[in-house]
Subunit: 484 residues, 2 copies
């Protein structure tokens, strides 16, 4: 497409943006949760109303199909957080009554609540032009928490970023949010400058390990360090037991190819490695399924070049066979490789590193013990999957115990792509899958990233936050501890 280049935000403009965010923080955070809920719903409604404009823009800038740009998921997320706010339990209001007879001496009245952490810097992702970008999950959860958001748009979809931002800004303003509650900036330099600015109190990022680690290091080396939530690279291994191959080999092969090649493999939950027993007999089917996938343009030229390089490096490892060569010309046709556990463990640096794009590796194991050793070789992952049958108890139990130490989500007889937005979702895992495995970037628990507790001791009712008052004017859940 041809388009006038959208200029980067200048440093002077960034300073204005950051000051507006800082100035908005108190008023935005002090609103009743129900008010912010209405603002999130207004933003969702405005985005849905603009779908005929936004979706084609997203498709053009990302090379993704209409079904995969996921505007619906994005507005669903905004509405889910409105429900979280209406529920109010996210505040974790805890009232701990005074107790003159407390064993260690009289205890005062203590009331604890989560309050917004302050302005949040969100780095948009390349691969989700809506759901992890301007109005995506990080933005939705930070706004829900009551934090002004400074959104650094991804260079891969600048026009969509600007237009989505305009819609969010307008809908928030019209629904009563303070000026500065949400702002979009563009440009690499302003992103890192904003991360170092004392007015920014937390940051969220979705992207590669090198870029995420560099930003993590900046966040931690500030005079006043801030929480940095990076969702980085993940291999998402899938283990299949011999019984499962026997019972469902064909179904597993087809499901795997669909999962690793979907979206041209440009998903953080793409299964990068499939562990099969040595005698699985699925090579032909896996190859045929992979070859049947249509070419798909990658998100942008930079990613295309990165994929080309990683694909060549992995393919060249001695002991790695090609099942389906695929291509990297004019879009990408999936590449499927094969090797064994010994080769994998001898070439960790090349093979145990994410390939962002439609490439995956089938790894054969010769025994349950070898599969376990392979599982133990992994660093942190977002997901780990096991395909097993009901007679696989010991094999399955051993693998689950190894995989849960190395992943944020453990799946059974399914595929890791497709992440439900729900209260029990965990999208995050040990490093490098995430920079902080204690938090999630998908699901309602993601709001926890942008809140911090404050305790009020013997504070009179009229000076307490509404959520901690005895009369509970917001009608939120309060956990009350009475003296024993």
């Amino acid at each position: 497409m041809t388009a006038t280049r959208i200029p980067d935000t200048t440093q002077a403009e960034l300073d204005t943006v950051l000051q507006r965010a800082a100035d908005a923080a108190e008023a935005f955070g002090a609103q009743p949760p129900a008010a912010r809920a209405r603002q999130l719903v207004a933003a969702a409604d405005a985005l849905d109303a603009a779908s005929s404009e936004l979706v084609p823009l997203a498709m053009a800038e990302s090379n993704l199909s209409e079904g995969r740009v996921e505007l619906k998921r994005t507005t669903f997320q905004l509405r889910v957080f409105a429900e979280v706010l209406d529920d109010g339990s996210y505040l974790q209001a805890t009232l701990d009554r005074a107790d003159a007879a407390f064993p260690l001496g009289a205890k005062p009245d203590l009331r604890r609540i989560l309050q917004p952490i302050g302005p949040v810097l969100v780095f948009a992702a390349s691969n989700f032009p809506f759901a992890f970008s301007v109005a995506g999950g990080d933005t939705a959860s930070a706004l829900a928490a009551g934090c002004p958001v400074v959104l650094k748009g991804h260079p891969g979809h600048p026009r969509l970023s600007v237009r989505t931002g305009e819609i969010i800004v307008q809908s928030l303003a019209e629904s009563g949010a303070p000026h500065g509650a949400f702002q979009v900036v563009l440009g690499f330099e302003v992103g890192t400058a904003a991360l170092q600015d004392p007015r920014i109190k937390a940051a969220a990022f979705t992207g590669s390990v090198p870029a995420g680690r560099a930003l993590f290091d900046i966040a931690n080396s500030r005079p006043t360090p801030i929480p940095f939530f990076g969702e980085l690279g993940s291999l998402n291994p899938v283990f299949v037991t011999p019984s499962a191959v026997h019972a469902r080999g064909e179904e597993i092969a087809k499901g795997y190819v669909t999962s690793y090649s979907g979206n041209a493999g440009q998903l953080c939950t793409k299964p990068g490695l499939l562990f099969l027993p040595a005698d699985h007999g699925l090579d032909e089917l896996l190859a045929a399924e992979s070859k049947a996938v249509a070419a798909h343009k990658l998100l942008n030229e930079r990613l295309h070049e990165g994929y080309r390089g990683r694909r060549a490096a992995v393919t060249e490892v001695a002991g790695v066979r090609v099942l389906a060569e695929g291509s990297v010309d004019d879009g990408a046709v999936p590449t499927l490789l094969a090797t064994d556990v010994d080769t994998l463990l001898a070439n960790r640096q090349e093979l145990l590193e994410e390939v962002f794009g439609p490439l995956s590796i089938v790894v054969t194991y010769s025994s349950g013990d070898e599969a376990r050793r392979a599982a133990e070789a992994f660093e942190g992952n977002l997901t780990a999957t096991l395909h097993a049958e009901s007679d696989d108890t010991e094999f399955a139990a051993t693998l689950v115990s190894r995989l849960r130490e190395r992943a944020g989500r453990v799946l059974f007889n399914g595929w890791p792509t497709g992440v439900a937005v729900s209260p029990a979702m965990q999208h995050g895992g040990p490093y490098p899958a995430a920079t902080d495995a204690r938090f999630t970037s998908v699901g309602t628990a993601s709001i926890d990233r942008f809140l911090r507790p404050v305790t009020y001791q013997n504070v009179p009712q009229d000076l307490l936050p509404e959520a901690l008052r005895d009369e509970n004017p917001w009608g939120i859940p309060q956990t009350i501890h009475e003296p024993k």
Copy 2:
């Protein structure tokens, strides 16, 4: 006292300790919470039974009085965490049922639980030989979470560290904890070496800003960074309104001197600054109360030297007056200084930095607006306190809104020293009070530091952790979300 010097742990010994901790992690974490609860109670019982041996040892090594070494609080904490385990809600078990009619497409069965993060390194504090040391709050909360603990003893009380460690190790072993669940190491070098070791998955520290920041930087610059919970320095400002001086000036003056001079000012919650209206008229009383406090030896010679230097530097600032000179010879008699807001704001580097020891500064303000400006000058604090009367609504509301942005606990008409161990306590605040304001090192919520969530997707009952099974064999609280 004379004592044979206890040698530091060697690097070879440390390696054995770390391997034992790593080897113990799975079995220790997999125990039912009730089993770990019994182990914590056994440890508490064993410490209480040894009090006639331990308390004199603590007093001799710390120069603290019998009431201040706080063995009772320490064993109370261990028992509180046994209650947390018996309750089980700390696991945050969330069951999110499969939903074929979910708006974004069929949703699988998702179950989320918190699991132990792995071996935890705890750095003991100088000023609490029991409650923040070998068997202190960090140890209690990490063990409760199911994490093996490697405890780096403080050089200020080596004999107590070793003896307390022996008692904990024995009581845990006798009550069924795996070998390696708890171990003590000694020495500066092994502390930093352990922090860099991949077998350590999180660390907790209580101490000074420079030491804590150095360790925080090590934790974050590891190839695989880990959560580091530093509880560092805090000024704990106290603001008093004119009405409060009028109504309770004498009581406030006496309470303040007791609070800042108690334990020779060697508490992280010591009020370092008292803001009074310019015409408060309490100088004489404040001086007399301070002079009436008996000399108290500081914890150790290194702290004594540090205090001597900081006291001299602060006293020499132009515009700072001496109300009570105190002394730093053969123990310390409290030093009380006075200045005004202008001088404070013009000398932030000297005056807005913690003085660890029995020194505090009375700061006079000339208007409510000036008091507010002073409040806004603070970085992060553990606590901030307001003394006000019921007619001070506007002054009080303004100050509370400023103080809650800069503290983890906001107190009204009280003193920050004395931290209750309770579900609503927050002991932590914005940097530098803590390296991560989202967590607390005191109270039952401190267990959250050593847990991370894992989600199980469509996992069969017999492969799920007990806490997530439908039959709920541990009988813990499960939050269940049914399809709408």
